[in-house]
């Protein structure tokens, strides 16, 4: 079987997707968890029962109008470990689903804006994905898919607990509304922990590891709702939307303040990121993500004229382990060290024609800051 990348939207096209506020919000997602009434949840079902749910659901999901007649539909058993990892790196399936085999499946439309996991933790995990901040649109899309589905299958629902899910953390609406944010300004100005705490207080989760270190990989954070019961879907969507708009404002402000108060710190970070990415001969995925984040900040600040945001976003995709491996080698297995060398090679190659960051072009920078010989743009 050919590798999964042949079915997926190319990394170049995937990176060119655009939406409102996409300088700061990479993508929006609304996921619904649903189960059949008559079959035990996948985690507790016997193999025959799981297969029964699979056999009922796969054809129904594939024939949904939103799949536009031509979906990618496959049993997880048919996908290689590497294919599954690519799907995880594209945020199309969960890590849990990547671990599934026979009796679990994946159906998604060609645009990859609608993706349904069959027999993940629940019989159905259906998600609508949109670039930029488009939570309402994503909710409307998945709501319509859900309604169409309900005409065809009998779902587990109770008046008291709503849609019933394997894990009580998802019960009720079964909804998970989330957005992926790029917050380098808040990280560099050391405000991000405070902001995370404030967002947590509103009952929202911010994913990212902040134990010893305080940064998330690539300064990318995912904000999502925790509570699914006792509140309507629309209320949840609106609540998160409001919080996200505030986060965007904070991030924009943090960038402006940094440029005004510590321009050399910002330029230093961006310049060094460019230097390392375009000259390294071995580089880890973690370091790459963190440096690409700074390069993207440079693009946002208009310090790299001629280099579009999509260029950096494609590198985010390409430098992840499975993408790198599928695209650059025929090998089934690749050691981390080999991969780091490959990654550095790819980055050097791609960045060869990128003109180095020019701090005098930085947008929003005060005219008298720095060397003062460049025109200030606002």
């Amino acid at each position: 079987m050919p590798n999964i990348l042949e079915f997926l939207v190319s990394t170049a096209d995937a990176s060119r997707r655009s939406g409102p506020n996409d300088k700061i919000v990479f993508s929006s997602r609304v996921r619904l968890a649903r189960n059949l009434r008559s079959v035990p949840f996948p985690g507790h079902a016997r193999k025959a029962e799981r297969v029964k749910a699979y056999d009922i659901l796969m054809p129904v999901v594939q024939s949904l109008e939103a799949m536009a007649g031509d979906p990618f539909a496959e049993s997880m058993e048919k996908l290689t470990a590497l294919d599954k990892q690519v799907l995880v790196e594209r945020h199309l399936i969960s890590r849990e689903h990547a671990a599934k085999n026979a009796g679990s499946g994946l159906v998604m439309n060609r645009e990859e804006s609608l993706c349904v996991m069959v027999n993940e933790e629940d019989h159905l995990r259906m998600q609508a994905l949109r670039p930029g901040l488009q939570l309402r649109q994503a909710w409307q899309a998945i709501d319509a898919v859900d309604s169409a589905l309900q005409e065809r299958v009998d779902l587990a629902f109770s008046v008291r607990h709503g849609f019933l899910t394997a894990c009580p953390t998802n019960v009720g609406t079964g909804i998970r509304v989330s957005a992926m944010l790029h917050l380098p300004g808040l990280v560099l100005s050391e405000q991000v922990n405070q902001i995370i705490q404030a967002v947590n207080k509103l009952g929202l989760a911010v994913r990212g590891l902040y134990g010893e270190g305080t940064e998330a990989l690539g300064n990318i954070f995912q904000v999502s709702n925790q509570m699914t019961l006792g509140e309507s879907e629309a209320d949840i969507v609106e609540r998160i939307n409001k919080v996200l708009l505030q986060l965007i404002e904070h991030e924009e402000k943090a960038r402006l303040v940094l440029l005004e108060k510590k321009p050399s710190v910002v330029f230093n970070h961006i310049g060094r990121a460019y230097g390392t990415l375009s000259n390294a001969h071995t580089i880890s995925s973690k370091e790459t993500m963190n440096l690409l984040s700074l390069l993207r900040l440079g693009v946002d600040l208009e310090m790299l004229p001629g280099t579009p945001k999509a260029f950096v976003d494609e590198l985010f995709l390409l430098s992840q382990p499975a993408h790198l491996q599928v695209l650059l080698t025929d090998k089934e297995k690749l050691g981390a060290e080999e991969r780091d060398v490959l990654r550095a090679g790819l980055l050097r190659d791609r960045l060869r024609d990128v003109v180095r960051p020019d701090h005098t072009k930085a947008a929003g920078r005060a005219a008298d800051a720095g060397s003062g010989n460049g025109p200030a743009t606002v």
Binding site: F41, H161, G162, G172
Partner: protein, 165 residues
């Protein structure tokens, strides 16, 4: 500080979450954190983790109060499994473990009553149920304040609503 999961290694990953002014802390060692997907922004839910760690006691206590070990007749899922996995076996489990669950759900969600989307197929039924229970409450209060005229009217309304379905 030792890891809350394996209870052996030193905890180096500390997660703090504040939900409605309640602080919840989770301390894990590197390997357990990795296993739980804590360092992966795509696959990690703190709620799942917390449900596994903190909820066990509550489930146990709720069971003790009942004096028996609950079991779902439909799928064979037991209370011990609920405690162990933090998950349920099938749709029917929600009625079987209803009381135990409500204790859990209270701490987890905004409420214990679903307020979202209702399948079109039973939408009428839900509205009927809601209007019936409202009428019953109204009837009770009418009786309590000895407003028998209203009570009689409400009684007739309830009767005709039931008959119409």
């Amino acid at each position: 500080m030792v890891c809350q999961l394996c209870k052996q290694k030193e905890a180096t990953v500390h997660l703090t979450q504040i939900v409605e002014n309640q602080v919840k802390n989770v301390d894990l060692c590197e390997p357990c954190a990795k296993q739980k997907g804590v360092n992966d922004p795509t696959g990690f839910s703190l709620a799942d983790l917390l449900l596994g760690l903190g909820a066990g006691q509550e489930i146990e206590q709720a069971g003790e109060a009942k004096g028996t070990e609950l079991k779902c007749e439909a799928c064979g899922f037991t209370q011990a499994e609920l405690k162990k996995t933090g998950r349920l076996g099938c749709a029917e489990c929600y009625s079987v473990f209803g009381d135990v669950l409500d204790t859990l759900l209270k701490g987890m969600h905004k409420g214990t009553q679903h307020k979202g989307k209702v399948p079109a197929a039973i939408r009428g039924l839900v509205t009927l149920e809601a209007s019936l229970s409202k009428l019953v409450v109204d009837l009770q209060s009418a009786v309590a304040r000895e407003d028998f005229e209203s009570a009689a009217r409400l009684r007739d309304e309830i009767k005709s609503l039931k008959a119409s379905h």
